[in-house]
């Protein structure tokens, strides 16, 4: 993973770290922080704690998003500070607009129709309407979003580098197909024969994937359906912790800068918690 990030991620790029609640590529985010990338535009429907940490690591100058909350807990303190102080630029959409922008990027077309009514977000950018040449009906359209690189975490890869997942896809497939280059981390590498006979489904064929890294627990504290559960305790604790800049710095030093890779990060976590998350996933 370290090599993939060094090789493919350049300062100033537009990145999409995909995964809606599920399969959030935290291992990739941490590696990007460790390599001191700068000036990135980070896109995600939900910035989540991943972009909290990446903002704290000063890798981004802009965030493109549609929901900046910590679901069920509250808000995102680092993100909120960065927006309120102007430390980061934002570009904001609705969820539907965000996935529609990715759909346009993934299909290579210059806009995508979305029937959401006007609101203060769309009025701020004077969202254009296009007339149907068939009926004259006006329909609002959004522009494509085609990231330089999309990064994602998945259940498994086979020997050839085909990528398999299960459960919530969110916007993963569109985010991957919208990018010319896709970097993937997986929990495991398994024989194609077994994967095709099992319940995982193909997310991406190998020729759409530039690099595959095997990184167990690569999505913690989010989850991998059937492998480990969401670490809701982590999500709750972040809220209090992240209100203090120094506490976030300390966390980064312990869990990101202070470790060489994902394996070392995992060793820092309490063994009991990992066991609990694994067991909960098998219910």
């Amino acid at each position: 993973m370290s090599e993939a990030v060094a090789r493919y991620i350049e300062d100033g790029q537009v990145l999409y770290l995909a995964g809606f609640t599920h399969l959030i590529p935290f291992a990739f985010g941490h590696e990007i922080i460790r390599q001191h990338k700068r000036g990135l535009t980070l896109c995600r429907a939900t910035p989540d704690l991943l972009y909290e940490q990446m903002l704290a690591g000063h890798v981004a100058e802009k965030v493109i998003f549609s929901y900046a909350g910590n679901p069920g807990v509250g808000l995102l303190p680092v993100f909120r500070r960065a927006v309120e102080t102007g430390a980061v630029a934002i570009e904001e959409w609705t969820h539907f607009e965000m996935v529609a922008r990715l759909a346009a990027g993934a299909a290579g077309v210059p806009f995508w129709p979305v029937n959401t009514l006007d609101n203060d977000l769309s009025r701020r950018r004077a969202r254009p309407r296009v007339a149907s040449p068939f009926t004259g009906q006006l329909v609002p359209v959004v522009p494509p979003l085609a990231p330089d690189v999309t990064l994602l975490h998945a259940h498994a890869a086979d020997e050839e580098g085909n990528i398999y997942v299960d459960g919530l896809l969110g916007e993963m497939r569109e985010a991957a197909l919208a990018a010319r280059r896709v970097l993937v981390s997986v929990e495991t590498c398994e024989p194609a024969r077994e994967l095709r006979a099992g319940r995982l489904t193909l997310l991406l064929p190998a020729f759409r994937v530039a690099s595959v890294s095997v990184e167990p627990w690569g999505a913690h504290p989010s989850y991998v359906l059937g492998r480990y559960d969401r670490d809701t305790l982590f999500y709750r604790q972040w809220d209090a912790q992240a209100r203090q800049e120094l506490a976030v710095e300390a966390w980064l030093h312990e869990f990101v800068y202070g470790v060489a890779d994902r394996a070392e990060y995992v060793r820092q976590l309490p063994a009991g918690r990992l066991r609990t998350l694994k067991e909960a996933a098998l219910i």
Partner: protein, 253 residues
């Protein structure tokens, strides 16, 4: 009489649950809406179809989730589908009967703000933003709004229209848009001109106390009364639901 056994938020949940009809397809948010939809499913609408914007169709959660993408929602669901498909092919085409929205501010036309307090460019408080809320407000056949009622939440004008309500010139012509507002002080519908109107009062409230918590002159339905207290069935089902729920489930109403 107010029910001392239920918190104000729990009473809101009971009232909101009553607004759901059997077999409806409900797009559910975390927190109170989720609790209300699950309560309705256990009391009077077992065939309610719970749909989550993360892409979950027909969830049957054993316990209440913290987030709308939680594994507990996925495990017993009929299926998960891409968000694009959910928004394009189910929401945008009118297959969602009910959307549930909360927010930081609502005005008398049901415009909701969940984006920012203060100016957008120089926020006093930056909130989470739309998520799917603007899309749901646009396309769900009927909206139920849930939020606490005081002058902060019910200002004369919202600071930002995240999710559009009824337009200035009257009710939405397509028959959609805000249908109900459930607060800890009462239940509201919208009149023919698309103005919010008090229908039922919480037993502890009077017209005066409710008006004092509202940033505009309240319209009151001629038949306004107090809301009926929770039935035994509602009470029992809610208690069972809440006992399976993480302690601070109410955090994100």
């Amino acid at each position: 009489m107010s029910d001392p056994l239920l918190t104000p938020k729990e009473q809101m949940v009971v009232m909101a649950a009553r607004l759901l009809r059997p077999a409806e397809r409900v797009l559910v948010g975390v927190g109170l809406p989720n609790l209300a939809a699950n309560l309705a499913k256990r009391v009077h609408a077992p065939d309610l179809v719970l749909i989550y914007e993360s892409g979950i169709l027909d969830a049957n959660p054993k316990s209440l989730p913290l987030s709308i993408g939680d594994p507990v929602l996925v495990r017993d669901a009929l299926a998960t589908i891409p968000m694009l498909e959910l928004f394009s092919n189910y929401l945008q085409t009118g297959w969602i009967d009910v959307g549930f929205l909360g927010g930081a501010q609502v005005d008398c036309r049901g415009n909701l703000n969940s984006t920012v307090i203060g100016p957008y460019e120089h926020p006093v408080t930056r909130l989470a933003g739309s998520g799917g809320a603007a899309d749901i407000a646009s396309c769900a056949r009927r909206l139920i709004l849930m939020l606490p009622q005081d002058l902060r939440h019910f200002p004369p004008q919202v600071d930002f229209v995240t999710s559009p309500g009824h337009p200035p010139e009257g009710r939405r012509p397509d028959g959609q848009g805000p249908a109900w507002v459930v607060t800890d002080r009462g239940l509201y519908d919208f009149d023919d001109e698309g103005r919010m109107r008090l229908r039922q009062l919480h037993p502890d409230e009077t017209l005066a106390t409710v008006q004092n918590a509202t940033g505009w002159p309240l319209e009151v339905h001629p038949d306004v009364g107090h809301w009926a207290p929770p039935t035994d069935a509602e009470y029992e089902a809610l208690r069972r639901l809440v006992s399976t729920t993480p302690v601070d489930r109410q955090a994100s109403a």
